[in-house]
Amino acid sequence: MAGIRIDNLVVGYGAEPVISDLSLDIADGSLFTLLGPSGCGKTTLLRTIAGFIPVRAGKLFFGDRDVTDLPAYRRDIGMVFQDYALFPDKSVYDNVAYGLRARNVPEATIKTTVGEYLERVGLSAFAQRMPAALSGGQRQRVALARALAIKPTVLLMDEPLSNLDAKLRVQVRETIADLQRQVGITTVLVTHDQEEALALSDRIGLLRLGKLEQVGGPEDLYARPVSAYVADFVGAANTLNVELSAPTTAGALAHVALEGANLQAFAPAALPAGKAVLIARGETLKLGPAANDANSIPCTVRRRQYLGGRTSFRVATASGREILVEAHGAVPGLAAGDAAALRFDPAQTLVVAS
């Protein structure tokens, strides 16, 4: 077992490589998620770690071992694919045994190892089945057992859940989470699903155009996004263009001008005066009757939707900007057309560079 270290990695050709100068440390035994929209380079990065894509510049380490120039088959990785990639002509047992046989492990040992991992994924009874006779969730669990049975240094998963339906996705997600913690293997998971990333990861790297936009724990990305892009990709957020009257230091409360009002908001990084972006999640906003409340602006309720556990409002500011507000339970009193006051919580409202 070992952590993964990526130093100044460049992948791809020409003036605009797919991944440019990317550095990253993944702690031993942790589950790291590469999150991002399609085309951001997350699968390219994963396949580079696996050794399927050559490195143009930079270094790649598994623990202390420099694997930059090692071919994939000698990197000692376990890999799980989006389309399962089970060998269709081999039984479940033979699929899981495949990597062990390549390592010339004695048949007796193979038998116990395969048995152990099939049991861990709950498929002991299916050893003699062919892949075609399994459901999607079962196939992905076989693929997981196959990848782990060789006791690899790192486990790499390329969108392992995206071919499964919603219910199975949650089941297999739990299998992955449990198994990863039991085995304690360093794991890199690629996904475009932010809920999956938040639920599974120790740390998340959000990739945008081949660069890491933000790396941090799930709470960091959700509660303290460094940019409007991160805020919008991880959960839904209201992002508003604002004016910053004076420069501000990192970790201070900044004063921003919005719709004529003067609001306070948290600045995670130092900002110059001028244009900035205000990030406010719907559930951190409070809607009350129109009154002169501190840190608030007047608004009009455009639409009200009662969704059981919460109520969702769409409100419009005086200049017509629309903002989404989420409130717990039913909120009596406010209906479409009513004037109201929208209050921002200074600690949970962020101001970042535009």
């Binding site: 050559p54 088959y73 990785i77 890999m79 399962y84 990639a85 060998f87 990848a147």
Partner: protein
């Protein structure tokens, strides 16, 4: 770039490219350049072509014949495909066998059997003569069009059938729900969608007619055709400047290349996306239309199977010289073929056997490289591997003879040149069939094996090869059956003593010894039919899965 990512496949790609360059590009360039040199009388081949009416009429005749047969094949193939796709009736299962007849009956045998029926000594011709009716001569346009139509309409049939079956019949229901009656719906909704497929297969027929040697030579007689004149120039120019043969070969390359480009263009433009093609269920035939449709289909079936019946009958019929004594049965013809003159059989089995094995090896590697291991060389490999489709057998044979007659690789006169001709001619066929399953094998399977610690080449043999096996087996049968029937290239490159069955049959037809030719024909059909039967019944291989 780190080198280990490509090594093995790159070396294989380079080796394949070298092979294509030597046996395909080099001969082709030799043909084209020889056509530009000055021939006897100091005239270039192209000047002779324009000035000699024999040659210029051969070009127009060939184009005309190609156009006519393309139309007649379409007129038979399209309605038959529609009937097969949309109606069910007694004996329909027989229609499913039609694509097989093109495989089972080599062109030379088709030409021969038609002669035995309608030629000057044909039994139908003589029967009519006994009643005092003189049928028109089967030699010339009449015979050429008839035989080629029945040899080639199956290509249109297969292409059209696949297109109609893939057509979503919900589109028809949608049209009818919008108030368009069924007949006009077919015309306005289905025809535009399937038309590109029909046109593409029709153009394929055109190229096959232009390149056809067996039927053209046996039945052409006073109608000058490009392939026949090319072969005759080759025979008369042996040892001298290969100017005229090369010029005529170049013309044929040009015509076929144009048709193939047009075909590719149509295929690439006319691919409509049909969502979940739900083909219409065949309806039982009913009402007034029943009789003409069933009769028409039956007639086409009977005519298509006639060569098979004739060849069997001919093989067992007593003959004195060119005179067939129909009704008098004998095994003498077959005894002669097997006991006193078995060389053509042995030659065919040896040459075609070696060529088939080599072809499968190369096809498997090339298919894998082109589909799965793209690198800087594979696009050229892909194009070159399709190039033999643009060369008629005669042209390929001439190219090989010009290139390897002495020089650094003197293959002419040896059996090796026949094997090379077979190999190159049928390679596109082998590659297309051997690689057909590759498209369905996801790349991640290989990655999975490599990630589990198996190096690339071993991964290929452990994971990909077993999945390719069914298509390789189908390719084996198809390459074998089409190779043993090959005539037009081998008749150019062979030397005395290396006669194969098709060559021997061709020579016997020329000498009007039809019974003897029938006996070899029957053996040839057997050599083709037995592997097909074993493959389809014992191993349950779908031979036409790739189409």
């Amino acid at each position: 770039m780190t080198r280990h990512f490509k090594d093995v496949w790159f070396v294989l790609s380079a080796a394949t490219l070298a092979l294509f360059a030597l046996f395909l590009l080099y001969p082709l360039l030799n043909v084209l350049s020889a056509s530009l040199s000055a021939g006897t009388g100091g005239q270039s081949g192209w000047a002779t072509l324009v000035n000699d009416p024999r040659y210029s009429s051969a070009v127009t005749n060939t184009l005309l014949l190609g156009a006519i047969v393309t139309v007649t094949s379409t007129l038979i193939g399209v309605p038959l495909a529609f009937v097969a796709a949309r109606f069910s009736f007694h004996g329909k299962a027989l229609i499913a066998l039609l694509p097989m007849t093109t495989l089972i009956v080599p062109e030379v045998i088709a030409a021969q059997t038609w002669l035995m029926i309608l030629g000057n000594n044909g039994f139908v011709t003589r029967a009519f003569a006994d009643w005092g009716i003189r049928l028109p001569s089967f030699y010339g346009w009449f015979g050429l069009i008839t035989v080629m139509t029945f040899v080639y309409y199956t290509y249109v049939y297969i292409g059209t059938l696949a297109a109609i079956k893939g057509f979503d019949s919900q589109l028809e229901e949608a049209s009818q729900s919008l108030g368009v009656p069924p007949g006009r719906t077919l015309l306005k909704v289905m025809v535009p969608v399937v038309a590109p497929s029909i046109l593409a297969s029709a153009l394929l027929v055109f190229t096959l007619v232009v390149g056809n040697f067996a039927v053209a030579t046996i039945l052409g007689q006073r109608v000058y055709l490009l392939s026949v004149l090319t072969y005759q120039s080759f025979v008369s120019e042996v040892g001298t400047n290969p100017v005229m043969q090369s010029t005529l070969a170049s013309v044929s390359i040009g015509i076929v290349a144009c048709a193939l480009f047009a075909q590719r263009w149509i295929v690439s433009r006319g691919r409509y996306e049909i969502v979940q093609g739900r083909g219409a269920k065949p309806q039982p035939l009913a009402g007034l239309a029943t009789l003409p449709i069933a009769l028409g289909a039956a007639l086409i079936m009977i005519v298509s199977l006639l060569p098979l019946v004739t060849i069997v009958a001919g093989a067992f019929t007593r003959a004195r010289g060119p005179v067939m004594r129909w009704g008098e049965w004998t095994t003498a013809n077959l005894e002669r073929v097997f006991l006193s003159a078995p060389d053509p059989i042995v030659n065919t089995l040896i040459f075609a056997g070696i060529a088939t094995v080599l072809s499968l090896l190369i096809s498997t590697v090339v298919g894998f490289l082109v589909v799965k291991k793209r690198n800087a060389l594979t696009p050229s490999i892909d194009y070159l591997s399709a190039l033999p489709l643009a060369l008629s057998g005669t042209v390929l044979g001439i190219g090989l003879m010009i290139s390897f007659n002495g020089g650094f690789l003197p293959l002419a006169g040896t059996g090796a040149i026949i094997v090379v001709a077979y190999l190159i001619r049928r390679l596109p066929f082998g590659i297309r069939n051997a690689s057909s399953t590759l498209y369905n094998i996801p790349n991640s399977i290989e990655d999975a094996s490599i990630s589990l610690g198996v190096p690339p080449l071993r991964t290929f043999f452990k994971v990909v090869f077993p999945l390719m096996l069914p298509s390789i087996a189908a390719a084996a049968v198809l390459v074998w059956t089409t190779t043993v029937a090959e005539l037009s290239a081998s008749v150019v490159v062979y030397s005395a003593g290396q006669e194969t069955m098709p060559i021997q049959i061709f020579r016997l037809i020329d000498s009007n010894l039809m019974a003897q030719a029938s006996a070899y024909g029957l053996v040839l059909v057997g050599v083709i039919l037995i592997p097909i039967l074993i493959a389809t019944t014992v191993f349950k291989i779908d031979l036409f899965a790739a189409k």
